[in-house]
Structures are given as structure tokens and as C-alpha cells.
Amino acid sequence: MPKDGGIGASTKRREDVRFLTGKGRYTDDINIRGQLHAHFIRSQVAHGTIRKIDTRDAEAMPGVVKVFTSADFAGVGGIPTGWQVTSRDGSVMLEPKHPVLAEGKVRHVGDPIAVVVAETLDQARDAAEAVEIDIDELPAVMDMKAAVQGGPLVHDEIGSNLCYDWGFVEENRAAVDEAFKKAAHVTTLDLVNNRLIANPMEPRVAVGDYEDHSGQHTLYTTSQNPHVIRLLMGAFVLSIPEHKLRVVAPDVGGGFGSKIYHYAEEAFVTKAAQILKRPVKWTSSRSEAFISDAQGRDHQTRIQLALDADNNFMALRCETYANMGAYLSTFAPCIPTWLHGTLLAGNYKTPLVYTNVKAVFTNTVPVDAYRGAGRPEATFQLERVIDKAARELGVSPVELRRKNFIKPDQYPYQTPVAVVYDTGNYDATLDKLLELSDYAGFEARAAESKARGKLRGFGLAHYIEACGIAPSNLVGQLGARAGLYESATVRVNATGSITVFTGSHSHGQGHETTFAQVISDMIGIDASQVEIVHGDTSNTPMGMGTYGSRSLAVGGSAMVKATNKIINKAKKIAAHLMEASEADIELKDGKFTVAGTDKEKTWVDITLAAYVPHNYPLESIEPGLEETAFYDPSNFTYPAGAYGCELEVDPETGKVEILAFTAADDFGNVVNPMIVEGQVHGGLAQGIGQAMLEHCVFDENGQLLSGSFMDYAMPRADDVPFYSVDHSCATPCTHNPLGVKGCGEAGAIGSPPAVVNAVLDALHRGGFTNVTHIDMPVSPSRVWQAMHG
């Protein structure tokens, strides 16, 4: 048993006490004396030319300070994109300007046109109705294929709606085609990966503050990565040098990707506070979030699998249209490419893979990473096409997968899609899954359901993801415009307690607890002696924040590296104090000893000596005990696992009820099992949500039909069962110091294909054998239509 507070213990979260008593401090809880309120006036049409904006009546209304339009942002840069993708022909992607406020044209419902700033929010809203806006509506381009075949242009100045046309691995294209010609069997599947809305429960908020005498800007914002916002907004949009710009992301109520990006509203409040010399606050309503937060997924794909006569996978071919929306959000270009095409080997030894992705502009809200980002899309198509192949070939989906798995003795494994898997054991996770889900007993349960008039099905999916994002030199070659290291400063205080400043960010993941567990374990002091500080660029080292399941794998590694520097220095001090050789000093349970002697110094003896250096080796080391480290991983990490879904379909109504969901994951080493399981639970609900409930739908004019929780179905407590999750099949990561792989996205990646495979299994068992696919969400209406339509 690991000791409470150390690595491997399900230590209770220290952050919970403030959240459970109403003492959390979220951005909307921040109110600065003298603050004004901003209300954004957003386009109600998907595409149009702005003829006139008349703000005079509004500016005369009570409490109104100013109404801003793009004219007020003339000297300001556009919202930048953090990744550049190169097309098959060698040209770089098209990158249209994304202004803070619409210039000349509006391009999606929700595009901000003007902002009313007033003393109170109600006054700002009242005045917004008096702003006169004339827009000539233009035809909207909604369908991706139509968009690239001569549909109306979203951005006239770039001359095309095709952002890029990416091929990967382009050199393999011909060989893949050749393999398909030779194949004994080819399975083809056309599918849609449904557009989703992240909907963290806390809507976005931004508060800008400006200090005239010093020229210091402060932005409080609901961000997963305050340093990234400081960099993007400071350098590219507002031209504020870093030392004059502080970005604070306090308690953040969930992100799931949607709070990675730099948004117009952040730049707006920062600039407006400077112009008006008063703090400016903007709080998104949920309705606004539906049309202004970056959305997720939205791929249309044809996936094809070629098999030889022995059912070995020979080649995989994927053609995808990926919706970018009207503008490129911060990391949008890399999601359907480097986070998708590189994952298409999955857990399998398919020797040849070719992916073509066409990224398309449409008159819709921008699309970017949402929990899993690219990897759920890859996993879904792969695990669906394998299930379809198994059915066509009349073989067990379990055995077809197992036969094609990369085997445990094949690591490190070079995939045909650039990435090298360091460790894994897919047979083990599959076996674990079959055991935990009592797969052997399934037929009996199916018979029992049948007797009640219900169709029971079991669906399997295996996934792999590349996370711990990521090696900077690699992502640089792939087009990233930022490094993806992480940082930590470990400050040991004079009396031995420790304050860690991490560049990572917690918005539900529990860093304050788990990071302290790591330090506590390394030094042997009680976890209560360690405080984790995050979220403020003024006191944390430059870090890239939290997404891509990277916090512990990358951020934790930076902290371990800094702590090792601390331990090395502390050993030097201990050696001096105990007049021993540094090489003989051992640190255990917070005590320094000299090997082979009974000499001993406590942790506090050393930390005190560092800050009260009376007897201290000043000639060789500096006083104090504080170290900063930056960690840049040498590879991604590759969590993997097997997911199983058991459900019942009501044949009369098409309603699907999930009866059991089992997840057997390999996350490598685990610091806090309770938190890891919680992350999986949350991911599963989001994946089940994608599979069964959630769907962001626009009509042909670009109006959002699923514009509130009334029509966008969020998973509720009674939509999901208790899950059974396991992470005992661990193959630790070989290249980071903790041997951890990351667990934040797995649940959302592996679950959608398991659910859909289970629905199809149920239908087949019920005799509906001509149903080969149902697009997500597998709503009652769609399932019924597939059976009876």
C-alpha cells in the first residue's frame, strides 16, 4: 500500500474543500472596483455584408460608456493560428484573417460585430437593442463538399474554401492503392463524426484591467493555458510585451479543449480596459457559448480496410473532409492532420496507411480540439471498419482484432504513420476487458433480453492515443508555431515547506493534490507541506498548459526534473554539514544520511542551512533552494485500452439503454488511482454523449438548430450506468521519469465506437442484418429509422 499523500495513493483532493463550501474563485467571481460590463452583439445570419452600423442611439442610453466596432480595432492584429499545415502539393494552408470584431463581412452566426460597454450588464444589453445594424445576407455555404466545389466563398480574399489538402504518408499513396488491388477482401464505410459542443459547465469569462501609470495589463480569463494566451494575444494581436501583460486563469470550471484557444473576447476586454481606463468584464451566457466557443469533431470520412486471405490487415485508406468553420481557431489545422492521421495504425500492425484530409471553410462556428481531438475520429473509423469487416467475413470481432494486434515483444514499434510506440500490451487489456465484462456470459444475457422483447448487444473497441503532447522539435517540423515543453519552479522555503509553480493548469484534474503527491514521495515530507501554484503568468514559469493529457507526463516530468536539481543541491549541502562525500549522501523519508554511518540531517536542517548559510559551502554553491526546470519529452506517450459496451435496444422505439460499460486501460504508472478513474468516468460520459446524444446541427442557412440545452442533449445522470474501470494492465512509459502516460482523454476516445458497435450487434442479433452503420448520435429516432425506415 502506498502511503497516503504519496505516489500510487488515492489521496483525497485538497481543492475539494473550497469547491464544496462555495469558496472557489472562478473568473466570474472576480469583480474589480469600477468595472464596466461588455455585451457582444453577434451576427444572427451566417453570411453577410455589413452595410451600416449606427451606434449613436445606443451610446446615448443610460449607463453606456462606449459602443465598439471594428473601426476601434483598426490597428489591432487578427486572432492568430498556432499551427501551419502544408498541402500535398507543397503549398501552405490558406490562412484568412480572423479579426477581433467583424470587418466588412460576417461569416457565422455568432460572429461578433459590435460591443456595448456600460456600467451594468443590463444597461449594456438594453442598449444593444438600439444599435442599428444593416446586413445584406449572402448565401451560406454549409456542406463541406459543396464548399470546395464552387460554393460561395467564406473569405473572398483567399479565393477558395479549401484550407488545405493534406496527404499522409504521401509517399505511401501508390503502395496503398496497390495493396487494395491485391486484397482478398476490402471493407468500405462512409461515416460522419458528429460535430460537438464542448460545454464545460462554466461558460467563458474575461476581465481586462489596465494600470495607466505603469502600462501594466491584466487579463483574468477562463483558460487552460494562460501563458499561451499571453503569448498569442500579446505578440500577435495587441502588441503588448510579455512583461507588461499578466494573464491569470484562476479556478476554471472545466475546459475539454474549448478553453485552450485565444478568443476575440479576451483581446477585446484587454484593449477596451486600456482605452476606457476602467476594468471591463465579459461573461458569456450559455446561449452565447453555443455560437462562440470553438466546437469539436465534424468529419466526413470514407474509410477502407484491405485484408488478405488470412484476414491480416494489409492497408488502410482514409479520405476525410474536416470542417474548420468560418475561421481557423488556434490549433484547428493540426487536429484532423497530425492528431488524426498519425493514429490510424491504431493497435494494429497494418503495414500501409494513407490518409487524405481536406480542411474546409464553411459558414459555421470555428472547430478545434475537443477532448481527444483527432484521436476519437481516428479510433471511431478504425474500430467501426474493423467491426464491419469482421461481420462481412463472418469472423469474431474479438479475434480479428487480436490477430492483427501489435504484439508485446514488438516494442518499440515503428508505425507506418511516423509515430513510434514505446510500450504496450493490447492482448492484456483485451483479456482484462473480456474478463471484467463477463463476455463469456453475454449470450445468456442476450437470450434473457430477447425473452423480454429487447435486443441486447455487445460492442468492443480498442484504442490508442498519442498524448503527453509533445516533443517540440517534432511538432515544429510538423508545423507547430509553439514549443510544447512544460515547466516548473520548485521553491523550497526556509523551514522546509515547498511551493511549486507549474506552467501546467488544473481545471478539474486535481494537480494541487497529485503534483504534491509526487513531491512528497520524492523528498519524503508530508504532502501537506507542499503547495501547488498554477494559473498566473506573473508567478509561474512559461508553460504551455493543460490539454492532450499532458499535465503529469510533461508538466509532472518538469517538476520531477526541478525536484531532482533540488535534491542534488540539498545533498551537496548535507555533505558539507556532515563532512562527508556527496556521493555517500542518501535521502530517504525526509532524512539525509551518510552511507555506512549513523550521521543524519533532517530535511529542515538542510533547508534552513540553505537560507541561513552560516556554515555553508558558499565557494561552490549559492544559498537558497529554488530550481526551475523545463522538460521537453522525447516522444509522445501512448495510452491504450479495450472498451466494452453492453446495451439493450427497444425495437419498438429505437431507444438504447446502456447496461454496462467496461474500460480496461493501460496508463502506465498511476499517481492517484481515484483521480485517474474519475478522469476515465468523465471521458466515458462524454464519449457516450457523442455516441448517443450530442449533435450540433445547423440548418442550410447556417442557423444553429441545437442552440441550447433544450436541443443539444447533454448526458445526464440517468443516461449512464456505473462504469467498471481498470488500469491494472500497465506498461510504464519508457521515456518520462514517472513512467506515466496520461488518462484525460482515453474515455472519450474509446467509447463512441464501442457504443455504436454494440447497437449494430444488437440489431444484427434482432435480425436487422441489412443495417451496416448508423451515424452518431444513435438517437432513438435514428435507430428506429435504421430498423423500420
Partner: protein
């Protein structure tokens, strides 16, 4: 939302007086009106709260059946109607969620007549009477299509009188996002015959399925409607279901409601 004056009278007469002014609107539980006002789709100058009027509260047996005060919250109906009219109580207990049920009222629901609301189906299937401050309106005359009713401007529903059936049940199929009725069917068997009211399904709002009523009046069993087909042309088509799907649900849920009523 726009600002307004707030008044909270304690008698029906005072409320009617307050509502006679230009721009005045009734506020009951607010579970529909407040979200509507947030979207700035309603902008009353005065809101007249009906929740402090004792005559409009509570559930009791009386002439003609079960009397329910119009400002009685769903949660109270769920508790207090149980002994007298269990199907109605169950319907009330299935509206929205507990917090909505603690505020939302039967009168508000009927005045609003949302095509996906639950209560209208109970009122229509029970042949209930909607009592207002000026008259009594039979259920068959009260509902007049989506969000429209026989109420005049400023008229206040004060109570609803439900004749108590021999057997009844309501089966609701949730719209997955809003949890309103994607389709809901209320079946009520009286000595004089069976009434079947359907909510959520039709473009014209709540309606009676007369073919099913005839079949069930002759034979009150799920098998009785097997041969019937629900016409899909007037059904709603939206994100959550096609016309054919809703027509199917009407039939399936009617069968299930009959089975539940018999159970």
C-alpha cells in the same frame, strides 16, 4: 431581460385588476416565462405574481372530481393527487426535474400550452374543465394549437377540475435534450368511454386520437389498437424525430399506456 414592476396580490380580484393594465402579465412558477424573458422574447411592463393567492393553491376533491388550484406546483400535485388520481400525480412527478417541479405550476403549463408539455394531455384526456376568473372552459374548447388557448388577455386560470377515471395512465417518451415529451400519450377510461390525448407529436399541439378512443372504448386492451395506423402527415419533424417516427411513437405509447392502466 427588460425591467418591469413586480406585484404580488393576495386575491384573484386584485390580480385580475392588476392584469387589466396595459403590458401586465401573469407570473406563476416562472419556469417558462423567466427563460423566455431572458431571451428577450417577452417584455412585460408589470409582472403579476399569482403564487400568493390562497384560493389558487392546493388539491382537493369536490364537485365534478379533483380540483387543483392553478398555482399549485407540480411537486404538490405529484404528492397530493396520488391517492385520488394516480396517473395525474405520476405525470406531475415526471415533469422536468425536482427544482422545476417545486416552482412550476399547472396553471402556467396550461396557459402556455407548449406542444411538448405534459399537462395538456391529462386535461384533454380527462375531459377536465379549466376554470378562470370569468368562466369555465371545457378541455375540448380550451386548446387551440401551438401555444394558443381559449384564454383572453388578462384572463386568469384559477383552477382545473378533473373528472376521475376508472383507469388511466400517462406514458412519456423523453426528448433527449429538453426532457419534455418527444411524444406523450394519456389514456383515461371512463364509464362513458375511453379518451386518448397525445402531446409532443402534432404540429397542431395536443390532440385526441379518436380512432384509438373508439377501438379502446370497445375493447380496453393493447391489442385493440394493433390494427390502427397513425397518420404521419401532421406530425412534427425536428432534430429529435421524423414524422414517421413520431407517428410510430403515438401508437407504441398508446399501447403501453393501456397496458399500464390495466396493470
Amino acid at each position: 431581460m427588460h425591467n418591469f414592476d413586480f406585484v404580488k396580490p393576495s386575491t384573484i380580484a386584485d390580480a385580475a385588476q392588476a392584469l387589466s393594465h396595459e403590458g401586465a402579465q401573469a407570473l406563476s412558477g416562472g419556469q417558462t416565462l423567466i427563460p423566455t424573458m431572458k431571451q428577450r422574447l417577452a417584455a412585460p411592463a408589470t409582472l403579476v405574481s399569482l403564487t400568493a393567492i390562497p384560493e389558487m393553491q392546493g388539491v382537493c376533491l369536490g364537485d365534478g372530481g379533483l380540483h387543483i388550484g392553478a398555482a399549485t406546483p407540480h411537486a404538490v400535485v405529484a404528492r397530493e393527487a396520488k391517492a385520488h388520481y394516480p396517473a395525474l400525480a405520476a405525470l406531475a412527478g415526471g415533469i422536468g426535474d425536482p427544482a422545476v417541479r417545486n416552482r412550476g405550476t399547472i396553471g402556467g403549463s396550461l396557459a402556455n400550452n407548449d406542444p411538448a408539455a405534459c399537462y395538456p394531455s391529462a386535461v384533454l384526456a380527462s375531459g377536465a374543465t379549466v376554470v378562470t376568473n370569468t368562466r369555465k372552459i371545457a378541455a375540448d374548447d380550451y386548446f387551440q394549437g401551438l401555444f394558443s388557448t381559449a384564454l383572453h388577455d388578462g384572463e386568469i386560470i384559477t383552477s382545473i377540475v378533473f373528472p376521475i377515471p376508472e383507469k388511466a395512465a400517462y406514458v412519456k417518451f423523453d426528448q433527449p435534450a429538453s426532457r419534455f415529451a418527444l411524444t406523450g400519450v394519456f389514456v383515461a377510461k371512463y364509464a362513458g368511454g375511453v379518451r386518448v390525448a397525445v402531446t409532443g407529436a402534432s404540429q397542431d399541439g395536443v390532440f385526441r386520437w379518436k380512432d384509438a378512443e373508439a377501438a379502446l372504448s370497445a375493447d380496453f386492451s393493447p391489442a385493440a389498437i394493433k390494427g390502427l395506423a397513425m397518420e404521419s402527415g401532421t406530425m412534427i419533424h425536428d432534430l429529435h424525430g421524423t414524422q414517421a417516427y413520431r407517428a410510430n411513437l403515438v401508437k407504441v405509447l398508446t399501447g403501453r399506456a393501456v397496458a399500464a392502466a390495466l396493470a
